[in-house]
Amino acid sequence: MRDELMIYVTAFKASLLARMEYRGDLLLSLLGGVCFQLGPLLAYGVLRAHAPQLGGWNGEEMLFLFGMWALCLGLSELFFNNIWDFSDQVLDGSLDRLLVYPVRSLPFYLLCSPTIHAFANITMGLSMLGYAGHALGLGAAYWALIPVWAACGVAIYTGTLVILGSTAVLMPGRGLDLLWLLAQVNWAARYPLNIYPAFLRVALLVVPPLGAYHYLPGLWLFKGGSLALGLGAPIAAALACGIGANFCWNLALNRYESTGS
């Protein structure tokens, strides 16, 4: 187990150093990450000019949702981003080499393609969470639970990506489109879900549970929701997504036809 972990760490470190090799790339990637978070914030600024509260959520509470969303996206992009290349690798056969490594394929595969703009997303996310926590005067429980919610968010988002990405084995060439579709839907989960029609609200809390790791904790923190909903539901959703991702990945690899076979 320890040896396997060391392999993961070494592979991740080597991939990250390779990504950071070019200064221009590093700077532009960071700039892109900042813009990626600033854009939706500015868009929200347009809405806020006409509606100081959206679905009963004020600006600082919205920052909590935006911040948790950005943090989880950044962590997923930093540690588990390779699923975005899965579709291409199925097509060009470069996935073959994965099958000969003496490690569990899913975590190893996901770890090997960190992105630089993830650092900007993480920094922006933490800044928004820090500002929201400070402005709303939230106590120690808030700060202590942020890592738990972030871990749940990463598992939910990455797990859903893996489940959809695995279809690339069944529909070669189409997996990336589905991931892009999910990323677009994920943008909707950044806003308070109570502004959406009931069917969409339920969908974003159940299949896929993209709102479970920030909206439900937000309900507990700001709207008097229960702790079971604010903490138990994100953990349950994260476990379900993790198990589902592992199942779909193994199913996909069992059906994968190597270019050499």
């Binding site: 990504r19 090799e21 070019y22 221009g24 790339d25 532009l28 990637s29 960071l30 700039l31 892109g32 990450g33 813009c35 990626f36 600033l38 854009g39 939706p40 500015l42 868009a43 600024g45 347009v46 809405l47 806020r48 000019a49 006409h50 509606a51 509260q53 959206l54 679905g55 992105t115 630089i116 703009h117 529909m171 060439g173 189409r174 489109d177 589905l178 892009w180 579709l181 677009q184 839907v185 943008w187 909707a188 806003y191 502004i195 959406y196 029609p197 969409l200």
Partner: protein
């Protein structure tokens, strides 16, 4: 000179047709792509619906905003060009092959983008036809001078969008991973083009930025002309601004491209 121009136009036509055929070869991909856009459009509508249903007053009526957002969505989808092959060819060195072709690289990618745009415009037209009865007052201008101005505006918007894409894509000459550039352009476009909201609804702190940047001329300007939301005498000024931005950025992109080509080293060369 004339013969050469004719040859280039013929080559452009062939590239356009080939690119369209390639796009049509993957209908599932195009449908999922459309679904992604519809998801974003739906999100935008729901957000504004939430603002209105809370009793907040907007400077324009909900029906007017709905009309604007529908037209903005159609324009945004039609003008979301596939410049990524260009970015990819820079990253992988495949641009060496483009340079060997008997047409300028810019022309090659312009034809490629226009074919994407034309095909996506057909999808938008079909969707608009199907939705026509369900969307209240989705009427556009019908008087001939404004219709002509709209056609000119659409062409200039396409040129401007291509120029912005072409300019941003060249960041791939100095980066290994193109997503920073992609996200920067995407974020600027989504906020300032008018895809999310008409510039008229922007708060005073954001409006000067939106007016100073070229992005609004991709969606906001043609959408306003199409819906007759312009002030009297404003259309010629808007068209002139669109043309200035489109041509200016096109030339700038060409200059930068020539500069990079002079420095580029291609494996095996």
């Amino acid at each position: 000179m004339l013969a050469e121009l004719r040859a280039q136009l013929r080559a452009g036509g062939m590239l356009f047709a080939r690119s369209t055929q390639r796009r049509l070869a993957y209908p599932v991909g195009a449908l999922i792509d459309l679904a992604s856009f519809v998801a974003i459009f739906g999100l935008t509508l729901l957000l504004w619906r939430a603002v209105v249903s809370q009793g907040n007053s907007l400077p324009m009526a909900w029906s007017e905003l709905l009309r604007y957002l529908c037209v903005a969505f159609g324009l945004g989808y039609a003008l979301e060009f596939g410049i990524y092959p260009f970015q990819q060819s820079i990253r992988t060195g495949g641009i060496a092959i483009d340079l060997l072709r008997p047409v300028p690289v810019t022309w090659l990618h312009l034809c490629n983008c226009l074919s994407w745009g034309a095909l996506q415009a057909v999808y938008v037209a079909i969707a608009a036809g199907l939705l026509w009865h369900w969307i209240p007052d989705l009427r556009v201008v019908t008087d001939l001078p404004t219709v002509l101005a709209l056609l000119v505006s659409l062409c200039l918007a396409a040129l401007l969008q291509f120029s912005i894409f072409f300019l941003f894509a060249q960041g791939s000459f100095i980066t290994q991973f193109g997503y920073g550039i992609l996200y920067t352009r995407l974020s600027l476009h989504q906020v300032f083009s008018g895809a999310f909201a008409p510039v008229a609804l922007f708060p005073e702190s954001l409006k000067p930025w939106a007016l100073a940047l070229p992005f609004r001329h991709v969606i906001d300007t043609p959408a306003r002309i199409a819906l007759g939301m312009t002030a009297p005498g404003e259309i010629p000024i808007l068209l002139a601004q669109q043309a200035a931005w489109g041509l200016g950025l096109f030339l700038l992109g060409q200059l930068i491209f020539d500069h990079f080509l002079g420095k580029a080293q291609i494996q095996g060369g």
